[in-house]
Amino acid sequence: MDTAFLLNSMWVMLGAVLVILMIGGFILLETGSTRMKNAGHIAGKTILTFSIGSVIFWAVGFGLIFGKGNSLLGFSDFFYSGYDIDGMSLSGAVFFLFQLAFAGISLTIAFGGFAERAKLSAYLVFAVLFSVIVYPPIAHWIWGGGWLAEHGKQDFAGSTVVHLTGAMASLAATIILKPRIGKYNKDGSANNLAGHNQVFTALSVLLLWVGWFGFNAGSTLSVDAGFFGFVAVNTNLAAAAGTVAAMIISWIVLGKADVPMMLNGALAGLVAITASCAFVETWASVVIGFIAGILVFYSIRFFEKMKIDDPIAALSVHGTAGVWGTLSTGFFATKELATVGQPGLFYGGGLHQLGVQAMGVVVCGAFAFIVSFILLSIMKAAMNGLRVTEEEEIIGLDMSEHGSYGYPELVKVEQKLKA
């Protein structure tokens, strides 16, 4: 067996492991950004929905994305059994696992919009529907040789495919579920339902940051010329620039160095560079990350003002930054690096690539949102509502959905104090 095949397989396997470990990052991110009474539920359901997503991906997801079909959907390779894939210089099973991890991340992002109020059953059903109907078509269009791939859409590791898709499903969910009890006052002003653990949130960002090397650099799918190193450098720079930018803008506008905002800036930088990490120069990744850090700040404020209650800022971090990241290659993709599509506006490519990127964002975003909205609406009607009762929401989903608290002693003390 040739060395390249083995090394590629090793490298992408490492990438898959890192990406799956990002689920741990999301557990910390989501629990840290929400309240104590829902912590056990959030941690547990994240593992559970990733498991559901994994099985569905194996059964149908992979086939719908990468199977032979038309420009809209693939139709072969269901119930994948571990064989190698023609024309690929790495183990088929490794490639499969890597792709499975991506689908799992997108699903986890979608559930951000469910936080602290959706029934457990809503998670279970939507995990299946999202993994069959929402994610695979978009992934096929861009990565599976579908119609957007034919246009030369640039989305190296999934700003659109993974992040925007997840965020749009999340948006549909937040709109249908409505804000959490206590988020908005009668006069329309918003309350800050602060997360219970900033240390979790900070650790989650670090875990995701490291995981992102698997996500982006792993997406090279090969060790050829050590190009993954370049991708990793761009990734790191964008995350750093996003962090700094969010800190600066929150200090300028709010007069304080807001920790959750800074952390969201790091994630926004990572999401934004996901599409462009292989197509742009290092200085551009700093600019892309920096702009993402600014955008996420205004985006969070915008959604809050629009009365869209997004507990973990999934819409801004994955949606807004995902859109920006996708568009960014239309500006910054260089002639040498644009192995897919054309160079961007700043490199003599004119508006062509920007147009392709914009079309991709609009079509994929609209598809993910509309389909998710319809699916969730049907679920709402069929399942007698997606949301837990008021009483259940107040006692916390740990108790209402699972029968025990993630922090039994502390929640009991808190309730005693309130009584």
Partner: protein, 328 residues
């Protein structure tokens, strides 16, 4: 009988409030008047059960009442000094302190969360005990005891003799140069809520019931109040109100502090709070809704905040400079 009398004072308060609340000075005179009536009633009530006060005593208010800077709603801040060192007296004056506190509560002054009330043994002491306590606070110089000293420095007599408070404050003034006390006073009051960002935009609350409103007490008033209290300590002033403290600034200090400017700004700030804040309750009374302001008023508010910050910075620089000379 008791309830009835306090309720009469309460009625009086509400009858006069509408008129008095149009003017800052009238309003504070009314508060003083109500306090005095409550003290008188409390003495009468306690006398009926325990006899008349066993020795002479003074009652002081502190906090915003001490500084004559109360708004329509204000919580209680007060203490008591009696003139006989006998331990037996303590229980009597504590009973009196509790009665005054209860009376004030009944006429509409919420209890002080921090316990600065003459019903609390810490704030109800004989003059010699007060001396011991103040000396201990100076000695300790912990964050908490420095805070108590600062509270005491705003004390103003409402019943009894002014001399009591002067005597005790002098005790602090004399020791200002020891134990780096001045520096500690400065450090204890240095942090205040930021009101304007670097772009010159106001920073209202972003969340909660008062979203969109500015906490005018912490952002606007505190820098002036704290700066002038520091000056008062440095110049050993007996005045407690920020405006009077400004007026009493010495010639030398006047060269660096623009008295007329800050007087005008601070008075304006008090009037903005009184006339433009939502005065439905104690909490809301400190929040200025920015939506209701005209363009000129918004500019005014910015100016008041900026001048407050500038004033504090000047005072800070002054004290730090002296401190560094002292260290040499």
């Amino acid at each position: 009988m008791t309830e009835c009398s306090y309720s009469q004072v309460k009625k009086h308060r509400f009858e006069r409030m509408a008129e008095a609340s149009k003017d800052h000075f009238q309003l504070n005179a009314l508060h003083d008047n109500i306090y005095k009536r409550v003290i008188q009633l409390a003495i009468e009530n306690v006398s009926k059960e325990y006899g008349p006060p066993p020795c002479s005593f003074s009652f002081f208010v502190t906090g915003s009442a001490g500084r004559l800077e109360q708004s329509i709603w204000s919580d209680q801040d007060h203490g008591l000094i009696y003139h006989h060192p006998d331990l037996d007296m303590k229980s009597y004056f504590l009973i009196l302190g509790k009665e005054i506190s209860k009376g004030l509560y009944q006429v509409g002054y919420p209890y002080c969360d921090g316990g600065v009330m003459s019903s609390n043994p810490m704030w109800c002491k004989s003059i010699s005990e007060w001396e011991v306590q103040l000396n201990r606070w100076i000695e300790e110089s912990s964050w908490e005891s420095i805070r108590y000293l600062l509270i005491f420095l705003d004390a103003r007599i409402l019943y009894g003799t002014d001399n009591d408070v002067h005597l005790l404050k002098n005790l602090i003034f004399q020791k200002v140069n020891t134990n780096q006390l001045m520096n500690k006073f400065l450090n204890n009051t240095m942090f205040y809520k930021k009101g304007i960002n670097v772009l010159g935009m106001l920073l209202p609350e972003t969340h909660g019931q008062h979203a969109g409103a500015l906490n005018i007490k912490e952002i606007g008033l505190f820098p002036y109040v704290n700066a002038l209290r520091l000056i008062a300590i440095k110049e050993k002033m007996s005045e407690t109100s920020t405006l009077l403290r400004l007026e009493s600034i010495s010639e030398t200090m006047s060269s660096v502090i623009d008295k007329p400017l800050y007087t005008k700004q601070f008075l304006k700030l008090l009037n903005y709070r009184l006339l433009l804040c939502d005065q439905t309750d104690y909490d809301s009374g400190h929040y200025l809704s920015l939506k209701r302001l005209t363009k000129e008023q918004t500019k005014d508010v910015k100016d008041m905040i900026k001048h407050g910050a500038a004033l504090f910075a000047v005072v800070r620089k002054l004290l730090e400079k002296e401190d560094s000379y002292g260290a040499k």
